[in-house]
């Protein structure tokens, strides 16, 4: 086992070990030491991911190939040998930024968790288990393992929303649970389909859950085994619904406003900052590479779903009077760009080759960047809503106003973060949106125009919200006496998020360079993979006609 392999396992399981120590060795009464200990665990995890980043920069894997497949780093140990299930981890330019984002947001969310005062021990234990689940999803390269981590996340989330949430917490928790489980079952059926189709009838290719291996089969690179178009299309639809629930795309988004609004602030940060990215990551890592034929088949539908999400989410956000609900719907809108950016895959009808592949690549880069930007900005927005909610205990947009005068530092930071969400040039939200919209033009000018008009709507609801909350002559709502200036811990969280929003906006290459290689390789392999499969299909049809 090499050092990277140890590092990957450590990243995933340090939070769990922290949770176990927390559960066994701490007294329920020692609230403050437990908080610091849990924060320590998330900081250690974050530092470990920084090491991973350093390793990546020191030796960037050639052409963005997954290190595990190149045999350089990563880990593959048999787990359930009878089923050829492996404990297989690895990372590349697609997963690394998201791993960094996860450990970063988890750390900040843990800093924001001082507002939790009820049953602190249980909260911290569940929080750390949740972090394990999230990191596991981004690092797993065995589909079975991926699924296990995916579902492991569910249990702590149910309790985190259900116990520490707002007034309608029970409803929100079960709704979240139900949606995700339903998506999970669809994914499970797809996994089974892949597994049983991945062995060759002659028995010389063993059935596998290895995502890299499955991708090769899906792209027609393995002799004697293939996923037929029917399998690809069926599996892609199953997978896409499973991931779209998580993203969430219209029409699978209805769990999100409830869950995000009812969850406590730090959990909203995690939900918006990290959990939604799992959907996008799943599409990029699994649904597209394993089913290029199915993906191309459904590309236009995906683009439409993405565009509808952008517009629908923006309009819905505009209609809200609850501050947190507004931010929640803005997530639906912003994540629409992710789906759209991935989907803009234009092919030539005669050869099946991608037209304007560089535009598509740009769209995918944009989608990926949008995930990171949204992770930073939406976590920040939820945090900012949480800060004011902790003080005045209401979120009614029409009962705010004048906060700029009462809490100048807070308001300044908040406005900065909201501008990042708006997509102001120079801040992180801009890059992803512009990349996606530009690349969409190549695919369908109509969709590009609609998507671009989403930017105006976004500006509309965010500026209107800023006006109602921070500007104005005076604060009109209840609990005016409770409004105190932002404290040091809150400032630290908000400032860090804003700093990263600016960093990503001013120097996007910081992350684009990391992901570009893997993205380019992904686009190329999808392109050739689709041509392979389409070629076999047309040959088979020609054979039939003759």
């Amino acid at each position: 086992m090499n050092s990277d392999a140890m590092l990957l396992s450590a990243i995933i399981f340090v939070p769990t070990i922290g949770a176990i120590i927390l559960a066994l060795c701490f007294n329920k009464k020692d609230v403050e030491p437990m908080r610091y200990f849990a924060l320590g665990a998330t900081i250690v995890t974050f530092i470990l991911t920084i090491f991973l980043f350093r390793n990546f920069l020191a030796a960037p894997p050639d052409s963005g190939m997954l290190p595990a497949s190149a045999g350089q780093s990563g880990i593959k140990l048999p787990w359930i040998a009878n089923w050829n299930i492996n404990y297989q981890l690895g990372y590349d330019g697609i997963s690394l930024p998201l791993v960094l984002l996860t450990s970063f947001i988890s750390m900040l969310a843990m800093m924001a968790s001082w507002s939790i005062t009820k049953q602190v021990k249980g909260y911290l234990v569940l929080f750390l288990i949740l972090e394990t689940g999230m990191l596991g999803v981004f690092l797993a390269l065995d589909f079975f393992l991926f699924y296990v981590f995916w579902e492991v996340m569910l249990l702590p989330m149910y309790f985190l929303i259900g116990i520490w949430g707002g007034p309608r917490k029970e409803y929100a928790a079960i709704k979240f649970f139900l949606y995700t489980l339903a998506g999970g079952v669809l994914m499970l059926i797809a996994i089974l389909m892949f597994y049983f189709n991945s062995g060759s009838p002659q028995g010389n290719v063993p059935n596998t859950f290895d995502i890299i291996e499955l991708s090769k089969i899906g792209q027609g690179l393995v002799k004697g085994v293939q996923f037929t178009p029917t399998v690809q299309i069926t599996a892609f639809i199953l997978l896409f619904i499973g991931f779209a629930i998580k993203v969430p795309s219209v029409p699978f988004h209805t769990w999100l406003p409830d869950a995000h609004v009812e969850a406590p602030t730090p959990i909203s940060m995690i939900l918006a900052g990290v959990l939604l990215k799992m959907g996008g990551y799943g599409i990029l890592r699994i649904a597209f590479p394993i089913c290029p034929y199915g993906a191309q088949y459904a590309a236009y539908a995906l683009a439409v779903i993405g565009t509808v999400s952008i517009i629908y989410g923006a309009f819905a956000a505009m209609a809200q009077t609850d501050f947190k609900r507004l931010v929640a719907y803005s997530s639906v809108s912003h994540m629409g760009y992710v789906i759209l950016g991935i989907a803009v895959w234009q092919i030539s009808a005669s050869t099946g080759a991608a037209i304007g592949k560089n535009y598509w690549l740009m769209g995918m880069n944009g989608a990926m960047f949008q995930m990171l930007a949204h992770g930073v900005s939406s976590a920040g927005m939820f945090f900012m809503v949480g800060v004011i909610y902790d003080r005045v205990h209401h979120r009614d947009l029409n009962q705010f106003g004048g906060l700029m005068g009462l809490m100048p530092l807070y308001s300044g930071l908040a406005v900065g973060i909201f501008f990042a969400g708006l997509g102001l040039p120079g801040l992180c939200g801009f890059i992803g949106e512009i990349f996606v919209v530009l690349s969409t033009w190549n695919y369908s000018p109509l969709l590009a125009i609609i998507a671009a008009s989403g930017v105006i709507l976004t500006a509309g609801y965010i500026l209107w919200a800023i006006q109602r909350v921070y500007l104005g002559a005076e604060y009109r709502g209840p609990h005016r006496e409770a409004i105190t200036p932002i404290n040091g811990r809150e400032t630290a969280v908000a400032f860090t998020l804003l700093a990263f929003a600016i960093l990503l906006g001013v120097y996007p290459g910081f992350m684009l360079n990391v992901m570009h290689g893997s993205m380019e390789q992904l686009a190329t392999s999808l392109d050739t993979g689709y041509q392979h499969v389409a070629h076999t299909v047309s040959t088979a049809q020609a054979m039939l006609q003759r």
């Binding site: 296990v148 579902e151 917490k169 139900l178 489980l181 499970l188 049983f196």
Partner: protein, 548 residues
């Protein structure tokens, strides 16, 4: 050969072979005798009955463990013992291990929960051990006679155990219902057994399929004799379905479980179901036989029928569980649903085994895998269902209630019980990283493979998937009460003191471990399944033409 030599051989065979291989059961019998003697001699104030039981159980378990270790060295043909009445193979020993482990755990639970009291102890444990011996016979049955005897030997003590809380009207009512249904089912089954034995001229499992084939060959399918034989098979299956609480023979289950003590309900839900599944597998093997040819289509249809019944059972169990307010009743319906899931594995096995050969479905491998899935499911089910019922029993001792609404806010007072309950319920839903997930995974994957043979099995798979999502609702209701709702003012305080609290954690731990470290138990299941399915010509069976 004179009668004397025959007798001498029989005695020699019994003493030297059969009794030796029957030692775990004999140990349990001896335990019962010791238990009763201890009371007779008024020693039960000094030696607690539960202690005697635990010692006896552990000795039997050690013997079974040794047997399994010896057998798993290599695949050996089944040894018929007691002149072919019982089969001794890894499958038998697997269930010995399974049932005796479970027996010990239940005995430990009763020691902690205080049902039965010291006075009734020997009575209760006699019934418990007696029922277990019956179940062990079911699992090793190789003859229609033992099939019936085993089922009855398991059932009769169960009736008494359900009514063991003598003072309670509800308990007696439950027992009465159970007896009436049980007697009806036993009657039907006995009739079926006599039809089969009479028409086929044999009661031995290993010869049944051959005889049926001969009958069909001689008379054709439409002959009344053949039809009567089929009717007999169906009647035996009805008897088994009663034990498995398969829809539409499930009516006794919720009532009996609600009326019985939670310990007894937990025992019945796991042990009697496991034994009945073992028997079902053996019976299926008997009617499939080694000569698949003419019988294949019949068994194929039977497999599809089992699949549909399984889907119906799972759906019904989950839907009915939704509206329950009593935890034991809820768990009873959940038991029905899980019987449905497990039956899906048997259905998949029958379809793959007897259906037309599909291109990418290797028969022997997948059949064995279906049985492995079933066995693995049972292993996980042992811990998760015992955990759930055990916690119900322990909480009952604290708050004197089994209503979901009285569980409100328990997590703050009895965290260990609630944690155990949460683990078990999540596993029952089938969520990773708990064992229930892998169990369900294995069953569903068998169904998917069976779907390549017949598309109906894909429908069953989808119904199973939908059920999994739906089951979330009612399981989570219990958790919601425990964790999300605050404990009302003035409610009885609950505590999970150490021995009982530790027990809850110890039961919950394997549920998690079976989800993480799958391989060891899976290998054991593999050894057991291989024993059932080492047909003499596993491959040639698969290649027989199925046109009929």
């Amino acid at each position: 050969m004179s009668f004397d030599t025959l007798l001498a051989r029989l005695i020699q065979n019994t003493n030297n072979l059969s009794l030796v291989l029957f030692l775990p059961e004999l140990t349990l019998c001896a335990t019962i005798v010791v238990l009763l003697l201890v009371r007779l001699c008024n020693l039960d104030r000094i030696i607690r009955p539960v202690g005697v039981c635990l010692v006896g159980g552990l000795i039997a378990l050690a013997m079974a463990g040794q047997e399994f270790y010896d057998l798993s060295a290599g695949i050996q043909p089944a040894t018929p013992i007691f002149t072919g009445l019982l089969a001794y193979d890894p499958f038998t020993v697997f269930f010995r291990l399974f049932l005796i482990t479970f027996l010990i755990l239940v005995t430990a639970l009763t020691a902690l929960s205080g049902i039965p009291d010291l006075e009734d102890g020997p009575d209760f444990y006699t019934l418990l051990f007696g029922a277990t011996i019956g179940m062990l016979l079911m699992a090793s049955a190789n003859n229609l006679l033992i099939l019936f005897l085993g089922v009855e030997m398991a059932s009769v003590p169960s009736y008494a155990m359900v009514g063991f809380l003598k003072g309670r009207k509800q308990s007696s009512e439950a027992s009465l219902k159970f007896v009436v249904y049980g007697a009806g089912a036993a009657g039907v089954m006995l009739y079926g057994v006599s039809l089969l034995a009479g028409l086929l001229g044999t009661a031995n499992f290993t010869e049944m399929a051959l005889r049926i084939t001969q009958l069909v060959g001689a008379h054709g399918m439409s002959d009344p004799t053949v039809r009567t034989v089929l009717f007999g098979i169906l009647m035996v299956l009805v008897g088994l379905a009663f034990k498995l609480s398969i829809v539409p023979f499930h009516f006794w289950c919720p009532d009996a479980f609600e009326g019985a003590a939670a310990e007894v309900a937990g025992y019945l839900s796991v042990a009697s179901k496991a034994a009945a599944f073992a028997l079902l597998v053996r019976f299926c093997r008997a009617i499939v036989g080694d000569h698949v040819g003419e019988l294949a289509n019949l068994n194929y249809a039977l497999g599809i029928g089992l699949g549909l019944v399984a889907a119906l059972t799972a759906t019904f169990g989950n839907l009915a569980a939704y509206s329950q307010t009593n935890v034991k009743r809820l768990l009873a319906y959940s038991t029905i649903a899980h019987a449905g899931y497990m039956l899906m594995a048997v259905a998949a096995m029958m379809v793959i085994l007897n259906g037309p050969k599909a291109a990418n479905v290797e028969v022997a491998f997948n059949v064995s895998r279906a049985i492995e899935g079933l066995l693995y499911y049972l292993c996980v089910y042992l811990f998760m269902n015992l955990g759930a019922f055990g916690v119900v029993a322990l909480i009952r001792n604290e708050i004197l209630s089994e209503q979901i609404e009285d569980y409100n806010g328990l997590a703050s007072q009895a965290p260990r019980y609630c944690l155990c309950m949460a683990v078990c319920l999540f596993s029952l839903i089938g969520l990773p990283p708990f064992g229930g997930f892998f169990a369900k995974w294995a069953v569903f994957s068998s169904l998917l493979q069976a779907g390549y043979v017949n598309k109906i099995m894909w429908v069953v798979l989808v119904i199973g998937g939908v059920n999994t999502v739906f089951s979330l609702f009612f399981y989570v209701r219990v958790l919601k009460a425990m964790y999300l709702t605050p404990r009302p003012e003035g409610a009885r305080r609950a505590e999970d003191a150490l021995p009982a609290g530790a027990y809850a954690v110890i039961i919950a731990l394997p549920v998690l471990l079976l989800g993480i470290g799958v391989s060891p138990v899976w290998r054991m299941a593999g050894t057991a399944a291989a024993a059932i399915f080492q047909w003499p010509h596993a491959d040639s069976v698969a290649q027989l033409p199925h046109g009929m």
